[in-house]
Amino acid sequence: MSGLPNYHALKVDAAKCIGCTHCMKACPTEAIRVIDGLAVIDHERCVDCGQCHRSCPTQAFYVEQDDLTKIRAFKYRVILFPSIMIGQFPEKYNETQIYSGLKKVGFTHVFEVEQPIQLLLDSVNEYLRNEENPKPAISTYCPAIVRLIQGRYPSLTENLILRKAPHDLAAHFAIERLLLEGAQREEIGLFYATPCIAKIASVKSPVGERESIVDGIVNMNHLYNEVMKVISEVEAEDNSEQRQNLSEEGILWSQTRGESGHFGSRSIAIDGIHNVVRFLERLENDQVKGVDFLELRACDQSCAGGILLTGNRFLTVEKLERRAKRYPSAKDISESTIRVDIEELKQKLVIDSISPKPLFIFGKDRVKAMEKMTRAQRIVCSLPGIDCGACGAPNCHALAEDMVNGKAKMSDCIFLQQMWEDEGKITARKALQNVQKKWGKDRFKADCNKRGRRNEGF
């Protein structure tokens, strides 16, 4: 799979979307508008945090994935997955049974991505030791956060730690291990089971890299269902050898405080994208002093709250905490069990650079931009300030900005229309037609069976 620029896996199912505006309000980058009664994502602005998916009452958002049968083309079929996946399965299945289940699905090798985590730990520490790197250093673990910073906080892009995530580590590790076993590179197919769309985007179009080393993506909830179909109730073969490099730290890595505890003398962990937004505003204003390291995650409870997980996030966290206790500390795992060239692997964790990609600018011409902003501000004065969303924009201000950018009209505001009607500027019929155009003709008919009214409850 080639690295598509700006790939987004999230799509809206027109048959399910009822244009209710919930997603539009939840989006941290105001990337959604309702057009002709349907949610439309602006892919330039989308950071893949999944808030829209989470907030949708009709499950209208779906996530594209690769066809699992693609793995058949490879001799060595590797499934890479974050440890949280183990926490999804019912208690009665142990990890040995889950690993066996994954093999029954068709994989030949099973790799949890957070190994050998010590390499990433060392690499990040090495980055932090360099005094020239701006503080607080911000983890690049969560790809939604990286995109949020590039787009909404471009000046903080320089604070991002130029190191890759565990799935990159594991991908390289898996390849090296299989080459040692005598595999040819082209015989190896890597598939990544993802907890979220942000990871999909970062795997398919990695920041600062031309091509992805992963051959396919499978959604974690889908893979979970596949494994559950074939998993054996009885104890399976011993496959513990494949977890030799897994550690307590690795298992906890994807959870809140999974990174922050290891880095810097003062570190902060924040989960939930709206919490992160509030904190970054402060950081951008230079009101955060003396902090060395920031772990920022888009989901509540970090990856345990990923949108493609099956289990309850709090139960997942608890299970993983218990599991982690059974594993050795990362520093106690001998380098000899890693077997591949450690320095070479470490080199692969370095990102050359991440550039800012400001999303909220009014164009490059400063005078024109100033003029547009002034016009938008004048328009806001005429809007009611209710932020109702009935215009198809998330708030009055966003509508005003859309207007000066030629993407919306005054008449999109239903309150303004009412006033114009009262002032005799437009007819009642014309006003209704305007609203029907925005929301679809059938939207306003009394009909207990229409979309959004039939057990699609809120």
């Binding site: 000046s155 204003n285 230079d286 400001p358 909220f360 600018i361 400063r366 902003m373």
Partner: protein
């Protein structure tokens, strides 16, 4: 915000500040930041402006009774006027020295009063002017040029 066409296009923003209201200090600087980001001003310049304006706001909150922030942005620079009704500054030169502070115990307990505000404003602006009349108030003018 309003725009004025003259020889230059000027974008204006106005805010008010309430003395003693530490919870809302920072609103004008956040709003100004938003506008500057939309104008694609470089991050370093924005940071300088936000830091300087925030210090000026906090000074009104900490030392004066009430104040206003007037912002004018044109193609090449931003001019910020922070004027307050308050006790004024008797000796501006002394006030400008790093570490000089008359902040009350209460203000210090909130983490302010290190005597670094004015020096910080100096450091983060291209031009800084202070006028003050004891018993009446203080006006701070800051100019930052865009690159």
């Amino acid at each position: 915000m309003e725009g004025v066409w003259g020889r230059l296009f000027i974008l204006k923003l106005i805010f008010s500040i309430q003395g003693g209201d530490f919870t809302h200090a920072g609103h004008p600087s956040s709003e100004v930041k938003k506008v500057l980001k939309q104008l694609d001003i470089d991050g370093k310049t924005i940071k300088n402006i936000v830091i300087a304006l925030y210090e000026a706001e906090v000074n009104v909150v900490a030392h004066a009774w009430r104040g206003t922030v007037d912002v004018e942005i044109d193609e090449s620079k931003i001019t910020i006027l922070v004027s307050d009704e308050g006790p004024g500054i008797p000796d501006i030169e002394q006030a400008m020295q790093a570490g000089f502070s008359t902040a009350s115990k209460q203000v210090r307990e909130m983490g302010f009063g290190a005597g670094m505000g004015l020096p910080n404003m100096k450091k983060n602006t291209d031009e800084l002017y202070i006028e003050s009349e004891v018993g009446k108030g203080t006006t701070v003018k800051m100019v930052n040029n865009f690159s």
